[in-house]
């Protein structure tokens, strides 16, 4: 062959060529014999192409400065080494790095499954309360007492509904 394919993992000539179709998208991996063996590709009992694709798509090294997650200090280099993230916020920080990988790894790049309704409801309730408390503070400072009374009533109303919900849950 004039221009033999190179192994995705080590750059030796590739002799094992693998194709996987996920949701009518074609993923191809080219490997040399040693890497194919090491990754279990030749093993009839199977292996995970997803892991392989993940590692392969992290090469070659993109040039540029190492970015770091503000929340946990995890770096892009750390991700390349481990294939794992440091904390939930990393998904925001490394969004650009992640986006192209998701397409080859999954059926789509948007979640369409279960949503934690209760946790989200709790979060929005909490956010609503914080907002009302800020508004109450501001109203008192500005001596808008009618508004303040309204906010206070609203706060106690929100609190009592959430307590009732929690109470009802504990009884059963």
């Amino acid at each position: 062959m004039a221009n033999p394919l190179k192994c995705d993992l080590c750059a030796k000539p590739a002799t094992v060529h693998l194709t996987q179709i996920v949701n009518s998208k074609i993923h191809k991996v080219d490997l040399c014999e040693a890497c194919a063996q090491a990754k279990g590709v030749t093993d009839p009992s199977g292996f995970s192409l997803a892991d392989l694709l993940l590692k392969a798509s992290l090469n070659p090294e993109p040039a540029g400065v190492d970015t770091q997650c503000e929340s946990c200090g995890f770096t892009q280099q750390d991700f390349k080494k481990t294939g794992r993230f440091g904390c939930p916020a990393c998904y925001n920080h490394f969004g650009a790095l992640l986006e192209p990988m998701l397409d080859s790894m999954h059926k789509g790049s948007t979640h369409t499954g279960k949503v934690p309704q209760r946790a989200l409801a709790r979060k929005s309730l909490y956010e609503r309360l914080t907002q009302l408390e800020t508004e109450l503070d501001q109203a008192i400072k500005a001596e808008r007492y009618e508004d303040a009374a309204r906010f206070r009533d609203e706060i106690s109303q929100v609190r009592s509904t959430s307590d009732r919900k929690a109470g009802a849950k504990h009884e059963d």
Binding site: D43, G46, P88, M105, H106
Partner: protein, 360 residues
Amino acid sequence: MKINELIESHSELTDTAASKSAVVLMTRIRLARNLAAQPFPGWAKDAQKREIRDQCMQAVAALPQMKRGLAIPVETLDELQKQILVERHLISRELCHAKSGSGIVISKDQSCVVMVNEEDHLRIQVLRAGFQFKKVWATINQLDTDLEEHIDYAFSPKLGYLSACPTNLGTGIRASAMMHLPALVISSQMEKVVRAVNQLGMAVRGLFGEGSDASGSIFQISNQTTLGESEEGIIKHLHGVLTTIVDQELNAREKLLETDPNKLFDKIGRAFGILQNGYLLNSGEAMNLLSLIRLGIDLGIFPDAQRAVVDRLFIECQPGHVQHAAKGAFEPSQRDVLRGERLRAEFAKVVAPDFSHAAK
């Protein structure tokens, strides 16, 4: 509940008399979940990890589903206890190697397990004997919803449940079935099946032994992608593939019976002879022989009631269980003796094979 009580007590997989399914031995679903605003276990400091573990274990152990179950930090278990839990498919090997700050919560009937601080903060898992995706999904969905009441999950509306590894992103679901496929193995069709299943985006692994060794013709088939499709969609898709494999296996059995029944009966008869009389059996050989007996049961050569016994022996012939039964640590060569002894005792009770029903 204490760990020793749990090991001694009846479990979903070792004592399910209702295991009537000829091909699918077990259905399992796991969900990966993480706490909001906390570093993932692989990146958290030891003190943070312990804090996260305490919070998670407390919330999980308080669930009604976990009542009178076991909740225990991993570091308090010895190697043999951990190995037994791995052999029962309750925990992963990765969790065994966790140095500190990890935990396990197991329900009394050993069908629900939550691993704390494995790769993710929470790995919720439900397993049932037989082909039961509907039931297992209903159970784990409820468990997850109940837990959400007490824990703020890391969740993004676009990316779904956030996991340490992006391959689990979205639903965080891994649905799998453990399948007994002796006829596909005997007729050398397994490689073809593995390739086809891989091309459909699913993973196939041999279940027992290290790595992908498929002793006992038992394979685990699971979904690989978790984002972009709903849980129900993923399960339905997998269910369809599994149903096809079940049909393929049953066809392969028919074919073996049609083309060369004597060869098949010879294998099954010899397996029975070795199990009744063998003295040294390593776990791989034991698994392969038991696999043939299970095939024999499916074909009516042995009584139906034996199936539950064989399914239990699949697990009790593993190294950890053999050592536990003999109450000590034993070298592999000594274990082979113990295993032989155990299997001779079990198979002395089994009636001789009757090939007349299977033969056409």
